[in-house]
Assembly symmetry: C2
Homo-oligomer: 120 residues x 2
């Protein structure tokens, strides 16, 4: 097992890529515990910096991500996780969180209405 | 132009993806200036946290990356850049910096000898 380099907040960025389409779905942060939970459960677990808690992708929406491969970069400070997603990754209703170009133009189709999926 | 969210050090992570193969090549950090230089020059520019300076990918190795698309995630705190690379991205001689799985097993072929490409 490679010794990952967590930042001073104990976090490491994790890139989530669709194993099949190779689209980048999202980027979120993991701490030691959620790296471990991701390996053990084969579901993606993250640490939310804004809500200050652990969360599993899909815990509310049902759009879980089944872990297929976990890769680490040369500096050991970024993780790349290939997954089979059960549904769109972005809570705005898009397949990928990267649904806009830098000019702000939406380049993807919205697949669901967030208000119907996320009840809060 | 979307207003990017830089962290408290003025940086934002940039994921570099091969436009054609859709492989993730590397992840590095940009500040405001290198985001701007990347847009203007259509080459990838980063801010090195360890060397505390701006650098252009390929400035030493010649393995530049030609910028094709720049996408931004829903939180506006990560950039995804699709590129046409002129050569391997990783300074260890692999096509991608993600050449190992989390167990440490090398899953890619080494394409060049780093000692011959990087003179330092």
């Amino acid at each position: 097992m490679l010794k990952l380099k967590f930042d001073k907040n104990g976090l490491i960025p994790a890139i989530i890529q669709d194993e099949k389409t190779k689209n980048i779905l999202m980027v979120a942060y993991m701490n030691k515990k959620t790296v471990w939970k991701t390996i053990k459960t084969k579901r993606t677990w993250f640490y939310s910096r804004s809500r200050n808690r652990l969360w599993m992708k899909g815990e509310e929406s049902g759009n879980i991500q089944i872990v297929k491969k976990i890769l680490v970069d040369c500096d050991k400070d970024t993780i790349l996780i290939l997954v089979k997603p059960k549904g769109p990754a972005c809570h705005h209703g898009y397949n990928s969180c990267f649904y806009r170009n830098i000019k702000g133009r939406v380049i993807s189709k919205r697949l669901f209405d967030p208000k119907k999926v996320y009840k809060k």
